[in-house]
Protein backbone atom coordinates (compact mmCIF):
# COMPACT_ATOMS: atom_id res chain seq x y z
CA UNK A 1 0.00 0.00 0.00
CA UNK A 2 0.96 3.59 0.32
CA UNK A 3 3.90 4.80 2.38
CA UNK A 4 3.52 5.83 6.02
CA UNK A 5 3.28 9.57 5.34
CA UNK A 6 0.47 9.03 2.86
CA UNK A 7 -1.32 6.71 5.26
CA UNK A 8 -1.16 9.25 8.04
CA UNK A 9 -2.45 12.00 5.76
CA UNK A 10 -5.30 9.80 4.54
CA UNK A 11 -6.32 8.73 8.03
CA UNK A 12 -6.84 12.39 8.92
CA UNK A 13 -9.21 13.12 6.06
CA UNK A 14 -12.81 12.93 7.29
CA UNK A 15 -14.85 10.13 5.73
CA UNK A 16 -18.00 10.96 3.77
CA UNK A 17 -21.50 9.83 4.69
CA UNK A 18 -23.83 10.34 1.75
CA UNK A 19 -23.86 7.57 -0.86
CA UNK A 20 -24.91 9.59 -3.88
CA UNK A 21 -23.57 10.29 -7.35
CA UNK A 22 -24.29 13.22 -9.70
CA UNK A 23 -27.39 11.52 -11.13
CA UNK A 24 -29.03 11.53 -7.72
CA UNK A 25 -30.70 14.93 -7.87
CA UNK A 26 -31.89 15.01 -4.27
CA UNK A 27 -28.77 13.71 -2.47
CA UNK A 28 -25.90 14.89 -4.70
CA UNK A 29 -25.92 18.47 -3.29
CA UNK A 30 -25.47 16.93 0.16
CA UNK A 31 -22.59 14.75 -1.02
CA UNK A 32 -21.04 17.75 -2.76
CA UNK A 33 -21.05 19.70 0.49
CA UNK A 34 -19.30 16.79 2.20
CA UNK A 35 -16.73 16.70 -0.62
CA UNK A 36 -15.93 20.37 -0.05
CA UNK A 37 -15.78 19.90 3.73
CA UNK A 38 -13.32 17.02 3.38
CA UNK A 39 -11.23 18.88 0.79
CA UNK A 40 -11.06 22.02 2.96
CA UNK A 41 -10.00 19.96 5.96
CA UNK A 42 -7.36 18.14 3.90
CA UNK A 43 -5.88 21.34 2.47
CA UNK A 44 -5.80 22.91 5.94
CA UNK A 45 -4.02 19.86 7.33
CA UNK A 46 -1.52 19.97 4.48
CA UNK A 47 -0.83 23.64 5.19
CA UNK A 48 -0.29 22.90 8.89
CA UNK A 49 2.11 20.11 8.00
CA UNK A 50 3.93 22.51 5.65
CA UNK A 51 2.97 20.28 2.74
CA UNK A 52 0.40 22.31 0.81
CA UNK A 53 0.32 20.83 -2.67
CA UNK A 54 -2.99 21.27 -4.54
CA UNK A 55 -6.11 23.39 -5.05
CA UNK A 56 -9.38 22.25 -6.61
CA UNK A 57 -12.65 23.87 -7.56
CA UNK A 58 -15.75 22.68 -9.36
CA UNK A 59 -18.46 23.99 -11.62
CA UNK A 60 -21.77 24.83 -9.95
CA UNK A 61 -23.18 21.29 -10.12
CA UNK A 62 -19.91 19.71 -9.00
CA UNK A 63 -19.48 17.44 -12.02
CA UNK A 64 -16.35 19.06 -13.48
CA UNK A 65 -13.30 19.84 -11.37
CA UNK A 66 -10.22 21.86 -12.24
CA UNK A 67 -7.28 23.07 -10.25
CA UNK A 68 -3.54 23.04 -9.82
CA UNK A 69 -1.09 20.83 -8.06
CA UNK A 70 2.56 21.50 -7.42
CA UNK A 71 5.66 19.64 -6.44
CA UNK A 72 8.79 20.99 -4.78
CA UNK A 73 12.03 19.52 -6.04
CA UNK A 74 15.46 20.91 -5.08
CA UNK A 75 13.73 23.99 -3.68
CA UNK A 76 12.07 24.71 -7.01
CA UNK A 77 8.33 24.65 -7.44
CA UNK A 78 6.84 22.82 -10.43
CA UNK A 79 3.18 23.54 -11.01
CA UNK A 80 0.67 21.65 -13.16
CA UNK A 81 -2.98 22.12 -14.12
CA UNK A 82 -5.26 19.21 -13.29
CA UNK A 83 -8.82 18.34 -14.28
CA UNK A 84 -11.40 15.57 -14.13
CA UNK A 85 -15.09 14.84 -14.60
CA UNK A 86 -17.13 13.09 -11.94
CA UNK A 87 -18.42 9.92 -13.66
CA UNK A 88 -22.09 8.92 -13.35
CA UNK A 89 -20.95 5.89 -11.34
CA UNK A 90 -19.22 8.00 -8.65
CA UNK A 91 -18.61 7.34 -5.75
CA UNK A 92 -18.55 3.60 -6.54
CA UNK A 93 -15.83 4.31 -9.07
CA UNK A 94 -13.21 7.04 -8.73
CA UNK A 95 -12.83 9.83 -11.31
CA UNK A 96 -9.87 9.66 -13.70
CA UNK A 97 -7.55 12.53 -12.83
CA UNK A 98 -5.80 14.17 -15.77
CA UNK A 99 -2.69 16.34 -15.89
CA UNK A 100 -2.99 17.32 -19.58
CA UNK A 101 0.29 19.21 -19.89
CA UNK A 102 2.24 16.03 -19.09
CA UNK A 103 0.42 14.00 -21.77
CA UNK A 104 2.91 12.18 -23.94
CA UNK A 105 5.82 12.75 -21.56
CA UNK A 106 5.45 9.66 -19.40
CA UNK A 107 4.36 6.09 -20.01
CA UNK A 108 2.50 6.17 -16.70
CA UNK A 109 -0.37 7.95 -18.38
CA UNK A 110 -3.31 7.04 -20.55
CA UNK A 111 -4.31 9.21 -23.51
CA UNK A 112 -5.60 12.63 -22.63
CA UNK A 113 -3.13 12.93 -19.78
CA UNK A 114 -5.03 10.66 -17.42
CA UNK A 115 -2.70 9.40 -14.73
CA UNK A 116 -2.16 5.69 -14.39
CA UNK A 117 -2.71 4.64 -10.79
CA UNK A 118 -0.99 1.73 -9.06
CA UNK A 119 -2.70 -1.64 -8.83
CA UNK A 120 -3.37 -0.88 -5.15
CA UNK A 121 -5.70 1.99 -5.82
CA UNK A 122 -8.76 0.19 -7.29
CA UNK A 123 -9.15 -2.35 -4.45
CA UNK A 124 -8.56 0.37 -1.87
CA UNK A 125 -11.23 2.57 -3.41
CA UNK A 126 -13.70 -0.31 -3.81
CA UNK A 127 -13.26 -1.36 -0.19
CA UNK A 128 -13.85 2.13 1.11
CA UNK A 129 -16.64 3.28 -1.22
CA UNK A 130 -18.72 5.35 -0.64
CA UNK A 131 -16.81 6.78 2.34
CA UNK A 132 -13.82 7.90 0.32
CA UNK A 133 -14.19 11.21 -1.50
CA UNK A 134 -12.20 13.46 -3.80
CA UNK A 135 -9.77 14.39 -1.01
CA UNK A 136 -8.89 10.69 -0.69
CA UNK A 137 -8.46 10.53 -4.46
CA UNK A 138 -5.94 13.37 -4.25
CA UNK A 139 -4.07 11.81 -1.32
CA UNK A 140 -3.97 8.22 -2.59
CA UNK A 141 -4.03 8.79 -6.34
CA UNK A 142 -2.48 12.03 -7.54
CA UNK A 143 -0.11 12.63 -4.60
CA UNK A 144 1.89 9.39 -4.86
CA UNK A 145 1.84 9.66 -8.66
CA UNK A 146 3.42 13.12 -8.61
CA UNK A 147 6.01 11.99 -6.03
CA UNK A 148 7.21 9.24 -8.37
CA UNK A 149 6.77 10.83 -11.78
CA UNK A 150 7.81 14.46 -11.36
CA UNK A 151 11.39 13.84 -10.13
CA UNK A 152 11.79 11.34 -12.97
CA UNK A 153 10.47 13.81 -15.55
CA UNK A 154 12.78 16.51 -14.19
CA UNK A 155 15.81 14.23 -14.32
CA UNK A 156 15.00 13.39 -17.94
CA UNK A 157 14.63 17.07 -18.75
CA UNK A 158 11.03 16.58 -19.84
CA UNK A 159 9.81 19.00 -17.19
CA UNK A 160 11.78 22.20 -16.69
CA UNK A 161 11.28 24.87 -14.08
CA UNK A 162 9.39 27.82 -15.52
CA UNK A 163 10.75 31.32 -14.99
CA UNK A 164 8.42 33.43 -12.91
CA UNK A 165 7.20 30.56 -10.82
CA UNK A 166 8.03 31.00 -7.19
CA UNK A 167 11.46 29.72 -6.27
CA UNK A 168 10.27 27.94 -3.16
CA UNK A 169 7.06 27.22 -1.41
CA UNK A 170 5.64 30.21 0.43
Amino acid sequence: MADDATRRAVSQIPLLKTHAGPRDRSLWPLRLKEEYQALIKFVEQNKEADNDWFRLESNADGTRWTGTCWFIHDLLRYEFRLEFDVPVTYPDTAPEVAVPELDGKTAKMYRGGKICLTEHFAPLWARNAPRFGLAHLMALGLGPWLAVEVPDLISKGLVVHKEGQRETAE
Binding site: P14, K41, P87, A107
Partner: protein, 404 residues
Protein backbone atom coordinates in the same frame (compact mmCIF):
# COMPACT_ATOMS: atom_id res chain seq x y z
CA UNK B 1 12.66 33.91 -30.80
CA UNK B 2 8.97 33.13 -31.02
CA UNK B 3 7.09 33.10 -27.72
CA UNK B 4 5.28 30.06 -26.38
CA UNK B 5 1.93 31.63 -27.30
CA UNK B 6 3.01 32.26 -30.90
CA UNK B 7 4.25 28.71 -31.21
CA UNK B 8 1.01 27.33 -29.77
CA UNK B 9 -0.94 29.40 -32.29
CA UNK B 10 1.25 28.14 -35.12
CA UNK B 11 0.71 24.52 -34.00
CA UNK B 12 -3.02 25.10 -34.02
CA UNK B 13 -2.87 26.64 -37.51
CA UNK B 14 -0.93 23.65 -38.80
CA UNK B 15 -3.33 21.23 -37.12
CA UNK B 16 -6.27 22.91 -38.82
CA UNK B 17 -4.51 22.79 -42.16
CA UNK B 18 -3.81 19.10 -41.66
CA UNK B 19 -7.47 18.39 -40.88
CA UNK B 20 -8.50 20.21 -44.06
CA UNK B 21 -6.01 18.18 -46.11
CA UNK B 22 -7.27 14.96 -44.56
CA UNK B 23 -10.87 15.86 -45.31
CA UNK B 24 -9.98 16.68 -48.90
CA UNK B 25 -8.13 13.40 -49.24
CA UNK B 26 -11.07 11.48 -47.77
CA UNK B 27 -13.50 13.17 -50.15
CA UNK B 28 -11.28 12.29 -53.10
CA UNK B 29 -11.00 8.71 -51.92
CA UNK B 30 -14.76 8.52 -51.47
CA UNK B 31 -15.34 9.72 -55.01
CA UNK B 32 -12.86 7.16 -56.28
CA UNK B 33 -14.40 4.43 -54.17
CA UNK B 34 -17.83 5.22 -55.45
CA UNK B 35 -16.85 3.46 -58.65
CA UNK B 36 -15.45 0.48 -56.76
CA UNK B 37 -18.45 0.34 -54.44
CA UNK B 38 -20.90 -2.41 -54.95
CA UNK B 39 -24.52 -1.32 -54.86
CA UNK B 40 -26.59 -2.16 -51.80
CA UNK B 41 -28.03 -5.65 -51.77
CA UNK B 42 -31.72 -5.90 -50.91
CA UNK B 43 -31.94 -9.60 -50.24
CA UNK B 44 -29.19 -11.94 -49.07
CA UNK B 45 -28.71 -14.66 -51.62
CA UNK B 46 -27.14 -18.09 -51.20
CA UNK B 47 -26.09 -18.18 -54.83
CA UNK B 48 -22.38 -18.94 -55.13
CA UNK B 49 -21.09 -16.36 -57.59
CA UNK B 50 -17.98 -14.25 -57.20
CA UNK B 51 -20.04 -11.08 -56.83
CA UNK B 52 -22.10 -12.33 -53.87
CA UNK B 53 -20.46 -11.35 -50.54
CA UNK B 54 -22.94 -13.41 -48.53
CA UNK B 55 -22.73 -16.81 -50.25
CA UNK B 56 -20.35 -18.36 -47.70
CA UNK B 57 -22.40 -17.03 -44.79
CA UNK B 58 -25.63 -18.29 -46.32
CA UNK B 59 -23.95 -21.68 -46.68
CA UNK B 60 -24.28 -21.96 -42.89
CA UNK B 61 -28.00 -22.29 -43.50
CA UNK B 62 -27.63 -24.94 -46.18
CA UNK B 63 -25.37 -26.93 -43.89
CA UNK B 64 -27.90 -26.74 -41.10
CA UNK B 65 -25.69 -24.81 -38.67
CA UNK B 66 -27.91 -21.74 -38.62
CA UNK B 67 -31.63 -21.92 -39.20
CA UNK B 68 -32.18 -18.47 -40.66
CA UNK B 69 -29.00 -16.54 -41.46
CA UNK B 70 -30.78 -13.63 -43.19
CA UNK B 71 -32.24 -12.71 -39.83
CA UNK B 72 -28.89 -11.06 -39.05
CA UNK B 73 -30.02 -8.06 -41.12
CA UNK B 74 -32.81 -7.31 -38.62
CA UNK B 75 -30.47 -6.91 -35.63
CA UNK B 76 -28.88 -3.82 -34.10
CA UNK B 77 -25.73 -4.02 -31.98
CA UNK B 78 -24.14 -1.17 -30.01
CA UNK B 79 -20.35 -1.33 -29.68
CA UNK B 80 -19.04 0.82 -26.84
CA UNK B 81 -15.32 1.47 -27.21
CA UNK B 82 -13.84 1.25 -30.70
CA UNK B 83 -10.27 0.40 -29.73
CA UNK B 84 -8.28 -2.80 -30.10
CA UNK B 85 -11.21 -5.12 -29.41
CA UNK B 86 -14.17 -2.91 -30.43
CA UNK B 87 -12.90 -2.01 -33.90
CA UNK B 88 -12.27 -5.65 -34.83
CA UNK B 89 -15.64 -6.59 -33.34
CA UNK B 90 -17.35 -3.94 -35.47
CA UNK B 91 -15.52 -5.14 -38.60
CA UNK B 92 -16.57 -8.76 -38.03
CA UNK B 93 -20.20 -7.78 -37.50
CA UNK B 94 -20.08 -5.57 -40.60
CA UNK B 95 -18.72 -8.40 -42.73
CA UNK B 96 -21.39 -10.73 -41.33
CA UNK B 97 -24.03 -8.32 -42.57
CA UNK B 98 -25.46 -7.04 -39.27
CA UNK B 99 -28.45 -4.69 -39.71
CA UNK B 100 -27.25 -1.69 -37.75
CA UNK B 101 -24.19 -0.75 -35.70
CA UNK B 102 -24.02 2.01 -33.13
CA UNK B 103 -20.45 3.02 -32.29
CA UNK B 104 -19.47 4.97 -29.17
CA UNK B 105 -15.93 6.26 -28.47
CA UNK B 106 -14.48 9.61 -27.42
CA UNK B 107 -10.95 8.90 -28.55
CA UNK B 108 -8.90 9.72 -31.63
CA UNK B 109 -6.83 7.34 -33.75
CA UNK B 110 -3.18 7.60 -32.68
CA UNK B 111 0.02 6.33 -34.24
CA UNK B 112 0.76 4.71 -30.86
CA UNK B 113 -2.21 2.37 -31.53
CA UNK B 114 -0.73 0.94 -34.72
CA UNK B 115 0.28 -2.31 -33.00
CA UNK B 116 -3.44 -3.06 -33.06
CA UNK B 117 -5.63 -4.23 -35.91
CA UNK B 118 -8.07 -2.26 -38.08
CA UNK B 119 -6.99 1.41 -38.04
CA UNK B 120 -4.41 2.72 -40.49
CA UNK B 121 -1.65 5.32 -40.06
CA UNK B 122 -3.29 7.81 -42.44
CA UNK B 123 -6.32 7.92 -40.11
CA UNK B 124 -4.26 9.30 -37.20
CA UNK B 125 -5.97 12.34 -35.73
CA UNK B 126 -9.46 11.38 -36.89
CA UNK B 127 -12.03 10.36 -34.29
CA UNK B 128 -12.13 6.56 -33.96
CA UNK B 129 -15.87 6.37 -34.65
CA UNK B 130 -15.59 8.54 -37.77
CA UNK B 131 -12.61 6.64 -39.15
CA UNK B 132 -14.28 3.30 -38.36
CA UNK B 133 -17.55 4.24 -40.04
CA UNK B 134 -15.66 5.29 -43.16
CA UNK B 135 -13.80 1.98 -43.43
CA UNK B 136 -16.78 -0.18 -42.48
CA UNK B 137 -19.13 1.50 -44.93
CA UNK B 138 -16.64 0.72 -47.67
CA UNK B 139 -16.53 -2.92 -46.61
CA UNK B 140 -20.31 -3.35 -46.46
CA UNK B 141 -22.69 -0.62 -47.59
CA UNK B 142 -25.71 -2.68 -46.48
CA UNK B 143 -25.07 -1.91 -42.81
CA UNK B 144 -26.62 1.18 -41.18
CA UNK B 145 -24.22 3.12 -38.97
CA UNK B 146 -24.76 5.55 -36.14
CA UNK B 147 -21.71 7.04 -34.42
CA UNK B 148 -21.24 9.04 -31.22
CA UNK B 149 -17.94 10.69 -30.46
CA UNK B 150 -18.16 11.21 -26.71
CA UNK B 151 -17.31 9.82 -23.26
CA UNK B 152 -20.37 7.91 -21.99
CA UNK B 153 -19.44 8.30 -18.30
CA UNK B 154 -20.19 12.03 -17.96
CA UNK B 155 -23.64 13.27 -16.93
CA UNK B 156 -25.03 14.69 -20.18
CA UNK B 157 -23.50 12.04 -22.44
CA UNK B 158 -24.75 9.24 -20.24
CA UNK B 159 -28.36 10.39 -20.59
CA UNK B 160 -27.95 10.49 -24.36
CA UNK B 161 -26.24 7.09 -24.34
CA UNK B 162 -29.17 5.54 -22.41
CA UNK B 163 -31.58 7.11 -24.87
CA UNK B 164 -29.77 5.65 -27.90
CA UNK B 165 -29.58 2.17 -26.30
CA UNK B 166 -33.32 2.21 -25.68
CA UNK B 167 -34.34 3.89 -28.97
CA UNK B 168 -31.52 3.39 -31.46
CA UNK B 169 -32.68 0.12 -33.04
CA UNK B 170 -32.88 -0.48 -36.76
CA UNK B 171 -36.48 0.59 -36.53
CA UNK B 172 -36.05 3.97 -34.80
CA UNK B 173 -37.66 3.99 -31.37
CA UNK B 174 -36.97 0.33 -30.69
CA UNK B 175 -34.13 -0.70 -28.33
CA UNK B 176 -30.92 -2.20 -29.68
CA UNK B 177 -30.69 -6.00 -29.55
CA UNK B 178 -27.35 -6.22 -27.80
CA UNK B 179 -24.79 -3.90 -26.23
CA UNK B 180 -21.11 -4.88 -26.40
CA UNK B 181 -18.66 -3.42 -23.93
CA UNK B 182 -15.24 -3.12 -25.55
CA UNK B 183 -13.95 -0.37 -23.27
CA UNK B 184 -10.63 -0.41 -21.44
CA UNK B 185 -11.49 0.99 -18.03
CA UNK B 186 -13.54 0.26 -14.94
CA UNK B 187 -15.57 3.51 -14.95
CA UNK B 188 -16.91 2.94 -18.46
CA UNK B 189 -17.78 -0.70 -17.69
CA UNK B 190 -19.67 0.38 -14.60
CA UNK B 191 -21.48 3.08 -16.62
CA UNK B 192 -22.59 0.48 -19.19
CA UNK B 193 -23.63 -1.81 -16.33
CA UNK B 194 -25.68 0.97 -14.73
CA UNK B 195 -27.42 1.78 -18.02
CA UNK B 196 -28.17 -1.85 -18.87
CA UNK B 197 -29.49 -2.64 -15.37
CA UNK B 198 -31.84 0.33 -15.54
CA UNK B 199 -33.03 -0.53 -19.03
CA UNK B 200 -33.09 -4.30 -18.58
CA UNK B 201 -30.78 -4.45 -21.61
CA UNK B 202 -28.86 -7.66 -22.30
CA UNK B 203 -25.16 -7.01 -22.93
CA UNK B 204 -21.79 -8.67 -23.30
CA UNK B 205 -18.69 -7.49 -21.55
CA UNK B 206 -15.20 -8.10 -22.93
CA UNK B 207 -11.75 -7.30 -21.70
CA UNK B 208 -8.03 -7.82 -22.11
CA UNK B 209 -5.73 -7.67 -19.09
CA UNK B 210 -3.20 -4.87 -18.72
CA UNK B 211 -0.37 -7.35 -19.22
CA UNK B 212 -1.96 -8.37 -22.56
CA UNK B 213 -1.78 -12.12 -21.94
CA UNK B 214 -5.31 -12.86 -20.81
CA UNK B 215 -8.84 -11.80 -21.63
CA UNK B 216 -12.49 -12.69 -21.16
CA UNK B 217 -16.04 -12.28 -22.42
CA UNK B 218 -19.17 -12.34 -20.29
CA UNK B 219 -22.91 -12.42 -21.07
CA UNK B 220 -24.96 -10.29 -18.70
CA UNK B 221 -28.73 -10.74 -18.57
CA UNK B 222 -29.96 -8.20 -15.97
CA UNK B 223 -31.66 -9.93 -13.05
CA UNK B 224 -30.59 -13.36 -14.19
CA UNK B 225 -26.80 -13.60 -14.47
CA UNK B 226 -24.32 -11.67 -12.33
CA UNK B 227 -23.99 -8.05 -13.39
CA UNK B 228 -20.67 -6.20 -13.39
CA UNK B 229 -21.37 -4.84 -9.89
CA UNK B 230 -22.53 -8.19 -8.40
CA UNK B 231 -18.94 -9.22 -7.59
CA UNK B 232 -15.48 -7.66 -7.70
CA UNK B 233 -14.10 -7.76 -11.26
CA UNK B 234 -13.36 -11.32 -12.38
CA UNK B 235 -9.96 -11.89 -13.88
CA UNK B 236 -8.31 -14.77 -15.65
CA UNK B 237 -5.30 -15.94 -13.69
CA UNK B 238 -2.32 -15.74 -16.01
CA UNK B 239 -0.11 -17.79 -13.67
CA UNK B 240 2.51 -15.09 -13.61
CA UNK B 241 4.21 -14.44 -10.32
CA UNK B 242 3.04 -10.94 -9.37
CA UNK B 243 6.43 -10.23 -7.83
CA UNK B 244 8.21 -10.74 -11.12
CA UNK B 245 5.67 -8.66 -13.02
CA UNK B 246 7.29 -5.29 -13.55
CA UNK B 247 4.84 -2.44 -13.55
CA UNK B 248 7.28 0.43 -13.09
CA UNK B 249 7.39 2.76 -16.01
CA UNK B 250 4.39 1.47 -17.95
CA UNK B 251 0.62 1.54 -17.68
CA UNK B 252 -0.46 -1.27 -19.91
CA UNK B 253 0.82 -3.55 -22.62
CA UNK B 254 -1.22 -4.65 -25.64
CA UNK B 255 -1.00 -7.37 -28.26
CA UNK B 256 -3.04 -7.48 -31.49
CA UNK B 257 -3.23 -11.26 -31.09
CA UNK B 258 -4.92 -11.27 -27.68
CA UNK B 259 -7.29 -8.49 -28.73
CA UNK B 260 -8.09 -10.33 -31.95
CA UNK B 261 -8.81 -13.59 -30.08
CA UNK B 262 -11.08 -11.82 -27.59
CA UNK B 263 -12.93 -9.96 -30.39
CA UNK B 264 -13.37 -13.30 -32.19
CA UNK B 265 -14.74 -15.01 -29.08
CA UNK B 266 -17.04 -12.06 -28.46
CA UNK B 267 -18.53 -11.92 -31.95
CA UNK B 268 -18.81 -15.71 -32.13
CA UNK B 269 -21.03 -15.54 -29.05
CA UNK B 270 -22.94 -12.55 -30.44
CA UNK B 271 -23.75 -14.58 -33.57
CA UNK B 272 -24.75 -17.63 -31.51
CA UNK B 273 -26.95 -15.47 -29.30
CA UNK B 274 -28.64 -13.56 -32.11
CA UNK B 275 -29.02 -16.40 -34.62
CA UNK B 276 -29.72 -19.03 -31.95
CA UNK B 277 -27.20 -21.76 -32.67
CA UNK B 278 -24.76 -23.58 -30.40
CA UNK B 279 -24.37 -22.61 -26.75
CA UNK B 280 -23.69 -19.07 -25.63
CA UNK B 281 -20.98 -18.77 -22.96
CA UNK B 282 -21.84 -16.92 -19.76
CA UNK B 283 -18.22 -16.30 -18.84
CA UNK B 284 -15.35 -17.44 -20.99
CA UNK B 285 -11.75 -16.68 -20.08
CA UNK B 286 -8.65 -16.80 -22.25
CA UNK B 287 -5.26 -17.48 -20.71
CA UNK B 288 -2.76 -16.86 -23.49
CA UNK B 289 0.25 -18.15 -21.55
CA UNK B 290 -1.16 -21.68 -21.22
CA UNK B 291 -3.81 -21.57 -23.98
CA UNK B 292 -6.40 -22.33 -21.36
CA UNK B 293 -10.07 -21.29 -21.69
CA UNK B 294 -11.85 -21.51 -18.31
CA UNK B 295 -15.62 -20.98 -18.37
CA UNK B 296 -18.38 -20.62 -15.83
CA UNK B 297 -21.78 -19.12 -15.08
CA UNK B 298 -22.62 -16.90 -12.14
CA UNK B 299 -26.05 -15.96 -10.82
CA UNK B 300 -26.95 -12.40 -9.91
CA UNK B 301 -26.06 -11.43 -6.34
CA UNK B 302 -29.16 -10.60 -4.20
CA UNK B 303 -26.97 -8.17 -2.24
CA UNK B 304 -25.68 -6.37 -5.33
CA UNK B 305 -24.86 -2.69 -4.76
CA UNK B 306 -26.84 -1.69 -7.85
CA UNK B 307 -30.48 -1.30 -6.83
CA UNK B 308 -31.65 -1.70 -10.43
CA UNK B 309 -29.87 -5.05 -10.51
CA UNK B 310 -31.80 -6.07 -7.40
CA UNK B 311 -35.04 -4.84 -8.97
CA UNK B 312 -34.34 -6.82 -12.17
CA UNK B 313 -33.74 -9.89 -10.00
CA UNK B 314 -37.23 -9.47 -8.46
CA UNK B 315 -38.74 -9.19 -11.93
CA UNK B 316 -36.87 -12.27 -13.09
CA UNK B 317 -38.03 -14.26 -10.05
CA UNK B 318 -41.64 -13.30 -10.77
CA UNK B 319 -41.32 -14.28 -14.41
CA UNK B 320 -39.67 -17.60 -13.49
CA UNK B 321 -42.46 -18.41 -11.03
CA UNK B 322 -45.11 -17.79 -13.69
CA UNK B 323 -43.36 -19.88 -16.30
CA UNK B 324 -44.51 -23.48 -16.65
CA UNK B 325 -41.64 -25.79 -15.72
CA UNK B 326 -40.98 -27.80 -18.82
CA UNK B 327 -37.61 -27.04 -20.23
CA UNK B 328 -34.40 -28.14 -18.64
CA UNK B 329 -32.73 -25.17 -17.05
CA UNK B 330 -29.02 -25.08 -17.66
CA UNK B 331 -27.20 -25.82 -14.46
CA UNK B 332 -25.39 -22.83 -13.11
CA UNK B 333 -22.65 -23.09 -10.59
CA UNK B 334 -23.73 -21.61 -7.32
CA UNK B 335 -21.13 -19.20 -6.06
CA UNK B 336 -20.22 -20.24 -2.56
CA UNK B 337 -18.54 -17.85 -0.22
CA UNK B 338 -15.64 -19.46 1.59
CA UNK B 339 -14.38 -18.38 4.94
CA UNK B 340 -10.74 -18.90 4.13
CA UNK B 341 -9.23 -16.34 1.83
CA UNK B 342 -6.56 -17.14 -0.66
CA UNK B 343 -7.29 -14.28 -2.98
CA UNK B 344 -6.26 -10.70 -2.80
CA UNK B 345 -2.83 -11.58 -1.52
CA UNK B 346 -1.00 -10.27 -4.58
CA UNK B 347 -3.14 -7.19 -4.64
CA UNK B 348 -2.00 -5.92 -1.29
CA UNK B 349 1.36 -7.65 -1.08
CA UNK B 350 3.02 -4.79 0.74
CA UNK B 351 0.75 -4.73 3.79
CA UNK B 352 1.13 -6.97 6.80
CA UNK B 353 -0.84 -10.17 7.18
CA UNK B 354 -2.99 -8.67 9.93
CA UNK B 355 -3.91 -5.74 7.74
CA UNK B 356 -4.63 -8.04 4.86
CA UNK B 357 -6.96 -10.07 7.04
CA UNK B 358 -8.81 -6.94 8.06
CA UNK B 359 -8.97 -5.38 4.62
CA UNK B 360 -9.89 -8.43 2.55
CA UNK B 361 -13.24 -10.07 2.31
CA UNK B 362 -14.10 -13.64 1.55
CA UNK B 363 -13.49 -14.75 -2.00
CA UNK B 364 -16.13 -16.53 -4.02
CA UNK B 365 -15.46 -20.12 -5.03
CA UNK B 366 -14.52 -19.91 -8.68
CA UNK B 367 -13.39 -22.55 -11.15
CA UNK B 368 -9.72 -23.09 -11.79
CA UNK B 369 -8.17 -20.30 -13.78
CA UNK B 370 -10.66 -17.58 -12.81
CA UNK B 371 -10.23 -15.32 -9.82
CA UNK B 372 -11.34 -11.91 -8.55
CA UNK B 373 -9.20 -8.79 -8.93
CA UNK B 374 -9.69 -8.09 -5.22
CA UNK B 375 -12.04 -8.89 -2.36
CA UNK B 376 -14.25 -6.62 -0.31
CA UNK B 377 -14.78 -7.21 3.40
CA UNK B 378 -18.28 -7.51 4.83
CA UNK B 379 -19.72 -4.20 6.01
CA UNK B 380 -17.63 -2.93 8.90
CA UNK B 381 -18.38 0.05 11.10
CA UNK B 382 -16.86 3.17 9.60
CA UNK B 383 -13.42 3.64 11.04
CA UNK B 384 -12.14 7.15 11.42
CA UNK B 385 -14.13 10.32 11.79
CA UNK B 386 -16.69 11.46 9.27
CA UNK B 387 -17.49 14.96 8.03
CA UNK B 388 -19.35 17.01 10.61
CA UNK B 389 -22.82 18.48 10.28
CA UNK B 390 -22.49 21.96 8.84
CA UNK B 391 -24.65 25.05 8.73
CA UNK B 392 -22.68 26.37 5.77
CA UNK B 393 -24.27 26.35 2.33
CA UNK B 394 -22.57 24.78 -0.67
CA UNK B 395 -21.82 28.26 -2.03
CA UNK B 396 -20.17 29.25 1.23
CA UNK B 397 -18.04 26.10 1.22
CA UNK B 398 -17.03 26.72 -2.40
CA UNK B 399 -16.02 30.27 -1.50
CA UNK B 400 -14.08 29.03 1.53
CA UNK B 401 -12.19 26.54 -0.64
CA UNK B 402 -11.28 29.28 -3.11
CA UNK B 403 -9.93 31.50 -0.33
CA UNK B 404 -7.57 28.88 1.06
Amino acid sequence: MATMEELKLRVRELENELIKCKQKQCAAEDAQNQELHRPKINKMSAEVVDSNPYSRLMALKRMGIVEDYEKIRTFTVAVVGVGGVGSVTAEMLTRCGIGKLLLFDYDKVELANMNRLFFQPHQAGLSKVEAAEHTLRNINPDVTFETHNYNITTMENFTHFMDRISHGGLEEGKPVDLVLSCVDNFEARMAINTACNELGQIWMESGVSENAVSGHIQLIIPGETACFACAPPLVVAANIDEKTLKREGVCAASLPTTMGVVAGLLVQNVLKYLLQFGTVSYYLGYNAMQDFFPSMAMKANPQCNDRYCRRQQEEYKKKEAERPKVEVVQEEEEVVVHEDNEWGIEVVSEVTDAELQAASGTAPDLPEGITVAYTIPAETAASGETVEETEQSLEELMAQMRKL
